[in-house]
Every structure is written in structure tokens, then in C-alpha cells.
């Protein structure tokens, strides 16, 4: 619901400002987020179950990097984003939709852009090493949510956050 002044949201307490993330398979890319001014996340290594790659792309400047969580640079970076970055962008588009990813990264998606790889192709990207630690610790924090104990005390603030999305 919108009106001419774009004021429909102004006095509403409960509304879905952000559409809920869409479900996607997590095996290859367990973690994607738009945070800290970056598209960032973690991509599981195809060959070694113990190894993960940390990939990131900065909003606006479109500087990218990919390395293992121990800061060893990804061997796939040869003057262009590697397959991990492509997988990261593809999964981000699945999770958030192409519009939200494009808006966050400040890139003009235009017509015919359906996947994250398409979106990457439209950016003037450049490589710039960044430490993996920040992103990796965000991933660990993300995983730590699943270890938190349940709560059985009333949480009245959740009235502002109705579950939604029943469109089948």
C-alpha cells in the first residue's frame, strides 16, 4: 500500500520493511551477508571439508578479495573475481533478490541481469587484499546464534516482527 506522498509507512508500527530472506541451499555457500559496506561471506572448499574461503566485495568501489580463513590468497584470483566470488554473488541474489544486492553494492543492475555472476560482470571490479578475519569472525558469530539457549520469558517486542511470507 502506497499513497501519492509515499506516506503510507509513516504511522505504521508493523510492516515488513525488509522482505524475509529467501531459503536457499547452504552447502556450498553457508554464509552471505550485506553488512559493513560489503557483500561478504564464506564459501566451502570443494576439495577440503576443513577449508573455507572468505570472499568480499566492497559496495561502491567494487574492490574484491578472496582468501582462506588463514589469509592464504585464493589461487583463482587472476585479475578477475574467482569462482568463489561468483558463487557468493549468485547466492546473495538468491537470498536477497537482485535489486537489493545491486542497490547495496551501488551498481546499476539494468535489464537482463538475473544472477550474481551477471551482476559482477557489470561492475568495474579491482582486486584489493583485505584481512579475512573480520568476515570470518562474523561468520562464527552467525553460527553461534544456533548455540544460544532458548528463552521462555515473554518477549513483547516480537509483536513488531510478525512472521510473514505465506505465498504459495
Amino acid at each position: 500500500m502506497t499513497d501519492a506522498d509515499g506516506n503510507a509507512w509513516r504511522r505504521r508500527s508493523v510492516l515488513a520493511v525488509v522482505p524475509p530472506a529467501r531459503a536457499r541451499k547452504l552447502a556450498k555457500v553457508p554464509f552471505v551477508e550485506l553488512a559493513d559496506g560489503r557483500l561478504q561471506g564464506v564459501v566451502s572448499s570443494g576439495s577440503d571439508i576443513e577449508r573455507v574461503y572468505v570472499s568480499s566485495l566492497v559496495a561502491g568501489t567494487h574492490a574484491y578479495h578472496c582468501s582462506t580463513n588463514n589469509n592464504r590468497p585464493c589461487g583463482g584470483l587472476r585479475g578477475a573475481p574467482c569462482k568463489h566470488l561468483e558463487a557468493l554473488a549468485d547466492e546473495a541474489v538468491l537470498q536477497y533478490g537482485v535489486d537489493r544486492v545491486a542497490r547495496y553494492l551501488r551498481v546499476d543492475a539494468g535489464d537482463g541481469v538475473g544472477s550474481g555472476t551477471d551482476l559482477l560482470a557489470r561492475m568495474d571490479t579491482r582486486h584489493e587484499p583485505t584481512p579475512a578475519a573480520v568476515v570470518f569472525s562474523r561468520f562464527l558469530r552467525h553460527l553461534a546464534y544456533l548455540e544460544l539457549p532458548d528463552s521462555t520469558t515473554a518477549l513483547p517486542e516480537l509483536h513488531w516482527f510478525p512472521a510473514t511470507g505465506a505465498v504459495r
Binding site: 505504521r12 525488509v18 531459503a23 561468520f139 558469530r141 553460527l143 546464534y145 510473514t164
Partner: protein, 464 residues
């Protein structure tokens, strides 16, 4: 709820509600721009907020705080005074609206007996949250940037680590995620000014070194579930079961709610969220199988029954529609805790029957001969079987009456409908023990097990 009751409810708006709403909206607009430099319009809005406190114990403090904020030099205490004033106004709006509802349907409500709470020792997470909320108020929603949102991580993490601060943690995390997704706020076509100011004000109050009263009594008896309201944001899933509790000591039945909340991540969504609540198998069984619960010595705080799964047993079948028809009207409701009062917190179970659903400009409405009420189809969870189509086909609905943006709405929790000439019944909790709809189950299976994948990753990477 009869159409005559609905008529009484909707015939007038409580006196003063529109004025209160205008004052709050002025404050909300001021917070969009932030308090770094308070312009004339914002200064007038803040003065109106102080003016609205005339004759109350808050007046002097709020007037002083408004003066300091307008002058540009203010403390966290000043912001707490403003948040308190705004909450007092909306609390009064809540009381007036709920009073109107109680009068219309004849619902008895026990007054609040518990004390308001006590001050507690200063805690670091609360202090960090207050500092962040202060910075946010200075910046205003339009001034929020990546750095400010990265800075909320520490207070959220610290608050999550303390079970007593879960409310604050869940609220801040939800607000921050929304802001993060909305950057740059200046580019948004519309800013959810009321909503974000609601969340900010509540967070400011929760971040004070203060604690609400503990459990006041314990109760045993039979709990007949009416329906389940599902809440979710990126990192939290909560189910709130509304039901009628028949105390075993023969006291009158009470209208109660019980809540279980689990932490999650945003990629776990839809029916999968039930799997995060498996520490409460008895509750889930009662929801999925529509059964009564026998509970022993559960703490009761106002209308909030604290759930202890080990002290509950599943009993015989209990049709929630029958519960609503027979037990809801005489049950005694409880007053909400003073600081939790807000129109958005109104969630009153009602049974609506004999209506037809019509698609109008504003959305789906339930209509009787002379009455109508908007149906909140945007509150149908992906974790349950209710869909807009099913709701549109229904003529009988168990729901929660809510208030938002100046009107009453009904949020369906369960419906009885006729689909392809066959009667269909669906409840929000039907999938609590697993999806029962083969089509949805197949889609779920195809998407893979998000919980298992992340637990495997956590097991391998987290404890090193």
C-alpha cells in the same frame, strides 16, 4: 465476536487518541532527521511532547530534556525521558483502545497486581546499548551509516550472552538488520518513522538499569490452546500460544499466553523454524495434534505463562474453535505490564463467524451486512498452512484483534474454509511437528536441511 460487537468497537475512536498520535508522529519525524541539529519543526514537535505530559509526574523531567535536546547538548538520561514520554502517550492509547475492546466484547480483565520493577546494578551491555542508541538519535535515521551499524555488534553480542537481556538483544538485532538493509536511508522512498521510533524508544527503556518484577504466582491446570502467533526476524523465532487456562483449584478460567523464543539465522526460514524449537516437544505436540495440555506449577506473570516443557503433559484432543466458542468469553484476561503497553502489543483472541471475504482496495476484508474489518494477510507465516487464498475462502476464523495505523485489523491464526466443496481447516501450528502438506514438504526437502548444514559447519569451525 459478533458483528454488533464489531460495530460498537469501530463506531468511535477513543477521545484524545488522534491528538496523541499527532504528538507521537511529530517526535517520530524529528528522529528521522536526528538530534544533532534540531530545526524549528522538530523543536516544536519536541515541545508538544513535553506539553502532552502536563499534569503528569513526567512533565518537569521531559520539559528539561526537551530543552537540552533542542539546545543540542543532551545526555542519555534526557533521551530516556523523551522515550519515556513517548511510551507513556502510546501506553495511554493502548489502554484506551483495549478498554474499548473489552467493553465491546464484554471481556473481563484483571488489573495489574505486580510491582513495576526495581533498579538493578549497572551492567556493561546495557551501557553499551544506551551509548549506541544515543549515537543513533544524534544521527537520526537519515544519518545512519555502515560504521554506526557495525558498532551495534558489540552491545548485541554482550546482551545475547546474558539471558536476562534477551529482550534488548533481540530488539536491537532486529532494528539494526532493518536499518542495514535500508541503507542509504536518504534514498528510501518512504521511511518507517513510527516503526523505528517505536523500536528505538523501547530499546532505550530496556537499556535502563532496571528490571521488571519476577514471576508472581505459580499455577496448575488445563491449558486449552486457541492458536499460535508466530514472530520472526533474521535472528529470532518466537511462537506465542494463546489459550484458556482452567486452574485445577477451581478458580475462574484465565486467558493466557505462553512464549518460546529461539535464536536463528536468516537463512533458516519457513517451516524449518519449528525444528529450532525442539526443546519443547510437549508444546509442539499439543499444537500439531490440537490437544489440551495439563500443566503443573508453571509461573504466571500477569497473562504470561512461563513455559516449562517438563512440567506439561499432552492430553486429549481439543478443537480450538470449540475452545473459542465455549471457553473464551468467560475467561478473565490480564492487564499488560505498564512499560509493555503500546497499541502494537494489542493481540486479543477473537472468533469471527458468518462473514464473507471481499477483496477491496485496502486488501482483504471480512464483511457482515453492515460491518467490515481488514484482514492482516501480511501476518500469515510461511511456517504454517494459512495462505491468503485459504483465508479468502474462509467464513470462520480464529484470530487476534490488532490495532495499527488508526484502524482495527484481524490477524488469522486458524480458519475453516470450503475449498473445492470440501471443508478445510488450517491452524498456524499444524506443522509444529513437521510439514503435513506433501507439496510444501517436497519443496522443503528439495531446499535441503539448512539447520543441519549450519550445525555441521559450526561443529567443524566453531570450537577451535
Amino acid at each position: 465476536m459478533l458483528s454488533t460487537q464489531l460495530a460498537q468497537l469501530q463506531q468511535s475512536v477513543p477521545v484524545g487518541l488522534v491528538d496523541a498520535d499527532t504528538v507521537v508522529a511529530g517526535f517520530d519525524d524529528a528522529l528521522v532527521g536526528g538530534f544533532a541539529r534540531v530545526g524549528d519543526e522538530a523543536a516544536a514537535a519536541l515541545a508538544a511532547l513535553a506539553g502532552a505530559m502536563a499534569g503528569t509526574p513526567l512533565h518537569d523531567r521531559v520539559t528539561e530534556a526537551v530543552g537540552k535536546v533542542t539546545a543540542g547538548s543532551f545526555s542519555q538520561e534526557d533521551l530516556a525521558s523523551l522515550a519515556g514520554a513517548r511510551s507513556a502517550l502510546l501506553g495511554a492509547a493502548h489502554d484506551a483502545l483495549l478498554g474499548q475492546f473489552d467493553a465491546a466484547v464484554g471481556r473481563d480483565r484483571a488489573p495489574r497486581a505486580a510491582s513495576i520493577g526495581v533498579t538493578v546494578e549497572a551492567s556493561a551491555p546495557r551501557g553499551a546499548a544506551r551509548a549506541w542508541l544515543h549515537e543513533t538519535a544524534v544521527a537520526g535515521w537519515r544519518g545512519v551509516d555502515h560504521d554506526l551499524l557495525s558498532a551495534v555488534g558489540a552491545p548485541v553480542e554482550a546482551a545475547l550472552a546474558e539471558p536476562g537481556l534477551r529482550r534488548l538483544a533481540v530488539l536491537l538485532d532486529g532494528l539494526a538488520a532493518e536499518l542495514r538493509a535500508s541503507l542509504p536511508v536518504a534514498m528510501m522512498s518512504q521511511v518507517p518513522a513510527r516503526r523505528w521510533a517505536d523500536l528505538w524508544s523501547r530499546a532505550v527503556l530496556l537499556a535502563q538499569d532496571w528490571s521488571g518484577a519476577g514471576d508472581v504466582e505459580t499455577i496448575s491446570g488445563r491449558l486449552f490452546p486457541l492458536g499460535v502467533d508466530i514472530h520472526e526476524h533474521g535472528t529470532a523465532i518466537g511462537v506465542q500460544v494463546h489459550g484458556v487456562l482452567e486452574p485445577s483449584d477451581g478458580q475462574p478460567a484465565r486467558l493466557v499466553r505462553t512464549t518460546v523464543v529461539a535464536a536463528k539465522v536468516e537463512t533458516i526460514t519457513g517451516p524449518a523454524v519449528w525444528r529450532l524449537l525442539q526443546a519443547h516437544p510437549v508444546l509442539l505436540a499439543a499444537l500439531a495434534q490440537r490437544r489440551v495440555l495439563t500443566v503443573t506449577d508453571l509461573p504466571l506473570h500477569g497473562g504470561d505463562l512461563r513455559w516449562l516443557d517438563g512440567q506439561a503433559r499432552v492430553g486429549e484432543q481439543a478443537d480450538p474453535f470449540a475452545t473459542a466458542r465455549l471457553l473464551l468469553a468467560p475467561a478473565i484476561a490480564a492487564a499488560t505490564a505498564p512499560l509493555d503497553r503500546h497499541p502494537a502489543a494489542i493481540a486479543e483472541p477473537v472468533l469471527l463467524e458468518g462473514y464473507t471475504v471481499r477483496q477491496t482496495e485496502g486488501g482483504l476484508t471480512a464483511e457482515w451486512d453492515d460491518q467490515q474489518i481488514l484482514i492482516a494477510v501480511d501476518r500469515l507465516p510461511a511456517a504454517g498452512p494459512l495462505t491468503p487464498a485459504l483465508v479468502a475462502a474462509a467464513s470462520c476464523c480464529l484470530g487476534l484483534l490488532r490495532w495499527d495505523d488508526g484502524r482495527w485489523l484481524v490477524q488469522p491464526l486458524a480458519v475453516r474454509a470450503t475449498v473445492k466443496r470440501k471443508p478445510v481447516e488450517a491452524h498456524n501450528g499444524d506443522w509444529a511437528e513437521g510439514v503435513t502438506d506433501p507439496k510444501v514438504a517436497k519443496a522443503e526437502a528439495k531446499a535441503g536441511d539448512a539447520v543441519a548444514v549450519l550445525r555441521e559447519r559450526a561443529g567443524r569451525l566453531l570450537r577451535r
